[in-house]
């Protein structure tokens, strides 16, 4: 299939939507499809060969913050040419309600169009959908995909109709191998954590309390913590005697995040709630790290009810300490969990997600001509 994908946000700026499109495009190519992505990007920056630059995105105020979006006559003519030259069987636009390339692609094209909605949008933004110009562009969409239940709900509430739920995939191959950070995990064992340090529902306080229980009995045991938040403030929560055995990295790059996963003997997901899937846990599974996770629904599900990782009572530091201790003392059990986690996470791989998306394409192209420039 020839697939044209429109990305609303700058390719060279990191973001969830861009990452999603990159992973999806590469997985679709891996399945043998021909893929072309149009995205706002500088003409002179190096791009993957499946990306067509639509010119520089402009920072504009949109909904109370500044977003880098592409619009205007130049963008329109580039999108039109891309649609014309592409001979796509299907056009896949992401975040079509955002005033940028995806909306322009809907506007200039006719034929089978699939849209993916990523964010749950506040009602105010959907009110704009009442605008005739936006409505007529959105009405051309033949199939809708939502990446989360929340996104699906707002879409259905405000635009009517329904959407297929296809969650984000995990780029498992990217997580499989990485060089551990220098000196890690070390002789005494190491426990890792990734996530916002100052968001209590991510559960860092539970892990710190558990470390207080574990540290006095285990001389070399260390903590490796990475994520946005004030590292000093968190480190103050540990008793002075064991403070130097916890390393707080702050926010790290995607690459270092993977290295962190490979630098520990046990990865901990102590979340007390608020997770719908647990992407970080799935990424740790893809790295093959043995996992201890709280027994909230999301983790129970990805960890196959405890077969692919140890579960402990959410919010209970003593239970976490006991579960982590069991794993630290039992290398055979760790190896077993690592194998089970790798097997379990395969079902969340982008390749599986890309197959689901491709079957949406196949449904939409049935009985419809190819994508063309609208007259």
């Amino acid at each position: 299939m020839r697939i044209g994908i429109a990305c609303p946000y700058s390719w060279d700026v990191p973001g969830g939507v861009q990452q999603h499109i990159r992973d999806l495009a590469e997985a679709l190519i891996g399945l043998g499809h021909e893929v072309s992505v149009i995205a706002p990007a500088d003409d002179d920056k190096p791009l993957p060969d499946y990306v067509v630059p639509a010119g520089k995105a402009m920072p504009v105020p949109y909904n109370g913050s500044v977003a880098r979006l592409a619009f205007g006559p130049l963008s329109v003519s580039r999108v039109r040419r891309w649609v014309k030259d592409g001979n796509f069987d299907v056009l896949h636009v992401h975040e079509p309600a955002v005033p940028s390339l995806s909306l322009l692609a809907c506007w200039v094209a006719t034929g089978p169009i699939v849209a993916t909605v990523h964010t749950a949008m506040p009602r105010s933004r959907w009110l704009l959908a009442a605008q005739p110009v936006l409505r007529s562009a959105l009405e051309k969409i033949n199939g809708r995909i939502a990446v989360s239940e929340a996104a699906r709900t707002t879409l259905v509430e405000h635009l009517g109709g329904d959407a297929v739920l296809i969650p984000n995939g995990v780029a498992t191959k990217r997580y499989r191998h990485a060089e551990p950070l220098t000196g890690w995990p070390g002789q005494g064992g190491a426990i890792g954590f990734l996530g916002r340090m100052d968001e209590p529902r991510k559960g860092l306080p539970v892990l710190l309390k558990a470390f207080e229980i574990l540290a006095p009995e285990r001389d070399g045991l260390r903590l490796l913590i990475a994520g946005p938040g004030d590292a000093d403030e968190q480190s103050q929560k540990l008793p002075a005697g064991i403070r130097d055995r916890a390393l707080f990295l702050g926010e790290v790059t995607e690459e270092d995040k993977i290295r962190v996963l490979h630098s520990v003997d046990v990865f901990c997901s102590p979340n007390t709630g608020g997770e719908s899937f647990g992407i970080v846990t799935a990424e740790a599974m893809a790295a093959g790290v043995p996992i201890v996770a709280s027994d909230i629904d999301a983790f129970r599900q990805v960890l196959r009810g405890g077969r692919a990782g140890e579960l402990f009572a959410a919010g209970d530091p003593a239970a976490l300490a006991a579960a982590a201790a069991r794993l630290l003392d039992d290398p055979a059990r760790r190896a077993e969990l690592s194998v089970a986690a790798l097997a379990a996470v395969a079902s969340y791989d982008w390749e599986v997600v890309a197959r689901d998306v491709a079957s949406v394409y196949e449904t939409v192209v049935l009985g419809r001509p190819i994508v063309e420039v609208a007259q």
Binding site: G72, P73, P99, C106, A137
Partner: protein
């Protein structure tokens, strides 16, 4: 002798009272002028919003640009007093982004009614620019007058609210508008 002194003293007091009430009247007129200037600034901003909305819904712009402008207009209209300056500045930035798109003017060249619509937005933006200058000028002079010792001691401004500057980004910077 005593009577002469009393008469002179009374006369001085009378002069002083007349002077103070003249100052009070002047301050009152200044407050009125601040209010009038604020009203004309508000009107100019409303005119700019509606001309921007007209451009957004004219079908002359692509849908992405239309949505951007329309949402900026909506925010400016819905903004309460405290956020008005931010929302109006955002509208300025949205207009500036629209006008500075490569090919924006050539695209609209010769399209029916396009030049008039754009000229109306330009003119309205220019009016906001001027109205804000005038408002801030009279507001500054009034604040200054209120700070004088006599005005403070005799509370000459009464209950009139303290004027505030209206700060915003109002430069379209496109060559034809205020730059």
């Amino acid at each position: 002798m005593t009577w002469t002194l009393i008469v002179i003293a009374l006369f001085v007091v009378l002069l002083f009272v007349v002077y103070v009430s003249w100052r009070a009247g002047r301050l009152d007129r200044m407050h009125n002028r601040v209010e009038a200037a604020r009203t004309s600034l508000d009107l100019a901003m409303v005119r700019r919003s509606s001309s921007a909305y007209e451009l957004a819904s004219s079908g002359l712009l692509d849908p992405a640009n239309s949505v951007l402008l329309a949402s900026a207009v909506r925010r400016a209209k819905d903004a309460d007093q405290a956020e008005r300056d931010l929302a109006e500045s955002d509208l300025t930035r949205a207009l500036r982004a629209t006008f500075s798109q490569p090919g924006f003017r050539t695209e609209l060249d010769g399209v029916d009614g396009a030049t008039e619509l754009v000229a109306e937005v330009d003119a309205a933006a220019q009016q906001v620019f001027i109205a804000r200058k005038f408002y801030n000028d009279v507001a500054a002079r009034t604040m200054d007058a209120r700070r004088r010792p006599l005005a403070r001691v005799f509370r000459l401004s009464g209950n009139a609210p303290q004027p505030e500057f209206f700060e915003m980004d109002d430069s379209l910077g496109n060559g034809s508008g205020p730059g």
